[in-house]
């Protein structure tokens, strides 16, 4: 077999059926062999960043690793932002890039770049393959590393002459990685202690992150919350892990979280953090975060997260699902009376700090669009959001009665993520409705992938929240940078209906609240991709928001006179 054939057969052996890629000089041997492997369905993207985001959306929606092909030099470098996005959010990807011939590496040959060096800080691991004998082993290891422990992207850079060399591979069964020990059985005694602490606490709160979703621990989370009668919120990446319409839901936490969540976190005496990193967007000013907590419990699969930002009293290194399932039988339900005042207090905060939006200025508001979209989602659709105000509006108005998939670039905050990720998600879960929520600024960063949606007739509906500006940046400039509006005007944008039509899909322009429902009706009736350009209030802001540099207690809300 040639190295290229070994690559493709190895992918089949790993159960891969979908590849997002782009051919070029240094991976042509692989593309030459690709038609011989019909089980590997290849999606030709329009830009390699799109391939990485598609593979990312595919992985998040399916739970299986996404696979990316790119050529050397610029091709591989175009995947870096996508790899970083997956790395920050712990998403399993395997990227296979072509590299110059082994004897040309290091000579600044055509389309040669140090992809190993460039991708090192944004991958869980990477490999340079200079010997055909190594391909089968390396691919097997890469999938193992990408999918086990805390998942993440792995890049394999394969020299072109290695793809062309001949070798009869021995397919490896065993993995020999002496420095990689990802399986942790949770410490039972710690979980017993955690369960007892949860029951004993007077004002407990659970916060759930992406780890709950990645481990498939949503049902276990609900059971633990219910049995221990503990109010439960999520991080931005954890949205969807816990039903928002559950009576114990605190919805989203963090510096754009709900008021009742922030009040609960700031007054809790116990905080159990599950599958999350406790980053700066969760805590805002760290020294003022959760000041009344006497017991921090941290459950995470990555030991390095223990004490990285917050030093827990109880550390449990395990995947969230296993930890929660193991903890569940240890929980002794608290006396109902012992929780009454805490739950009553939270209900009161929920009434005092509801989600509000501007209803009085005659403009269509983004929330008008989100509320109608979520009505149609029926607690089932996959929603993929981009980055910026659209992301927070989509997260805050999420209202599912059961766990669901809300996909966004929470860690890296990559504009342009949503649309290609939605393509990947739809390919992974064709039975699900997929809505892509994006601002016009982020959407045009990867809009060329419209061709892919059209080519594959993908039923992805794009909800463009178009405010003719970089809305989040504009809001920050208004509130935190002296009101100087600097380089945020996006009034020179394409006519999105014509843009859609130019790519071969229908576009709908919506300018009034009355047009929202008919537009959604039309989009849902129309098979294949549809773009709806919602021209929202250009001054719409995200609320609540914690002013930069301040603690969660200081969150701002929309003043009542606008609501």
């Amino acid at each position: 077999m040639t190295g290229a054939e070994i690559v493709l057969e190895a992918l089949e052996r790993e159960g891969v059926d979908r590849i997002f890629g782009y051919p070029g000089g240094a991976n042509l041997p692989i593309y030459q062999q690709l038609p011989k492997y019909p089980k590997l369905q290849h999606v030709l993207v329009r830009h390699e960043q799109g391939a990485a985001h598609m593979a990312d959306g595919f992985a998040r929606a399916s739970g299986r690793p996404g696979v990316v092909f790119a050529t050397s030099g610029p091709g591989a470098l175009n995947t870096i932002t996508g790899l970083c996005t997956a790395y920050m959010d712990s998403v399993p990807l395997v990227a296979i890039t072509g590299q110059q011939n082994t004897n040309l590496v290091g000579r600044d040959a055509f389309q040669e770049s140090d992809v190993i060096g460039c991708s090192m800080p944004v991958t869980k691991h990477n490999y340079m393959v200079k010997r055909v004998e190594d391909i089968a082993r390396v691919i097997h290891e890469a999938f193992h590393i990408a999918t086990t422990g805390r998942p993440g992207p792995v890049l394999i850079d394969i020299c072109k002459d290695v793809q062309q060399a001949s070798w009869e591979p021995v397919w490896p069964d065993e993995i020999e990685l002496p420095g990689y020990r990802p399986a942790f059985a949770p410490d039972l005694s710690k979980l017993e202690e955690a369960a007892a602490a949860l029951t004993r606490a007077e004002r407990p709160v659970i916060l759930a992150g992406h780890g709950v979703i990645l481990s498939g621990g949503q049902e276990e989370l609900i059971e633990v919350a219910e049995k221990s009668v503990t109010p439960t919120g999520t991080t931005l990446l954890g949205v969807g892990a816990f039903p928002v319409r559950h009576p114990l839901s605190l919805h989203m936490t963090g510096f754009m979280g709900t008021g009742w969540n922030l009040r609960a976190v700031q007054n809790a005496d116990l905080l159990m953090m599950v599958g999350m990193r406790v980053d700066d967007r969760v805590t805002a000013k760290l020294s003022e975060w959760a000041p009344k907590v006497e017991t921090f419990i941290h459950i995470d699969i990555d030991p390095s997260e223990m004490g990285k930002n917050v030093r827990p009293h109880l550390e449990v290194v395990a995947d969230a699902k296993t930890a929660l399932a193991t903890m569940l039988p240890q929980i002794v339900p608290p006396q109902p009376a012992s929780r009454r005042s805490w739950l009553t207090q939270i209900d009161q905060w929920r009434e005092e700090h509801p989600l509000k939006y501007v209803r009085s200025n005659g403009h269509m508001q983004p929330q008008d669009v989100m509320i109608e979209m979520y009505r149609r989602c029926d607690s089932d659709a996959i929603v993929v959001a981009d980055v910026g105000q659209n992301q927070i509006w989509a997260a805050l108005w999420w209202n599912y009665t059961r766990p669901g998939l809300f996909i966004n670039s929470g860690g890296a905050g990559t504009m342009g993520f949503a649309f290609p990720a939605a393509i990947g998600a739809k390919m992974a879960r064709p039975e699900k409705a997929v809505w892509c929520v994006a601002g016009e600024g982020g959407f045009v960063m990867t809009a060329q992938e419209l061709s892919v949606a059209v080519r594959h007739r993908l039923d992805v509906k794009v909800v463009l929240l178009n405010n003719f500006s970089l809305g989040m940046v504009r809001q920050f400039q208004d509130d935190f940078y002296g009101g100087v509006r600097s380089e945020v005007d996006l009034s020179e944008m394409p006519d999105f209906v014509k843009l859609a039509e130019a790519y071969g899909l229908p576009g709908i322009c919506v300018e009034t609240v009355e047009q929202i429902k008919p537009a959604f009706d039309l989009a849902e009736r129309t098979p294949g991709p549809v773009l709806i350009d919602f021209r929202i209030d250009p001054e719409a802001n995200v609320y609540p928001i914690v002013p930069l540099g301040r603690g969660l207690n200081d969150f701002w809300e929309l003043p009542d006179e606008y609501a």
Binding site: M120, P121, M128, S304, K308
Partner: protein, 176 residues
Amino acid sequence: MSTHDGIHRESAGSESRLRVLTAVVEDHPGVLTRVSGMIRRRGFNIQSLSVGPTDAPGRSRLTLTVDAGHAEVDQVQKQLDRLIEVIEVEDLTEMPKLSRELALVKLAVTGPRRDRAVAEVDRFGGRVVDAGREHVIVEVSGEFDRVEGFLEALRPYAVIELARSGPVAMSKEVQQ
């Protein structure tokens, strides 16, 4: 504002920021880049680093002195441990350990000055490893303070070149 134990209140306390670690790594190309890249990316700083083979084929041992910077000090070990090719890491900072640094010093000394210099070298357990008409090269090995003292003692004697290694270190404990 409470000051309970759970949270790092901006500064990370008075604990020493310098960590001495030893790591056994796979002897692959690029491993050192991974280690040093991670250290830079996390805001740590390498004070010294030495690399050498171990008794096991395909394995190297690193000895590192790392300033944890603004991070929690245990992060240095934990982040090293996350690297796939790092097989084991020990933080020796608080452990009984042996540490050795090596210094080579070239002195431009002749006559009685040379005799006095060599006497200083003897006093520190060092030795003369090369001698010419105009110079001697001497060496000493020992813990940081001993090497420092040695260099201090030689300062009056026209030091014309100095080469000094970082430490290699080993725990005194016996692990089965």
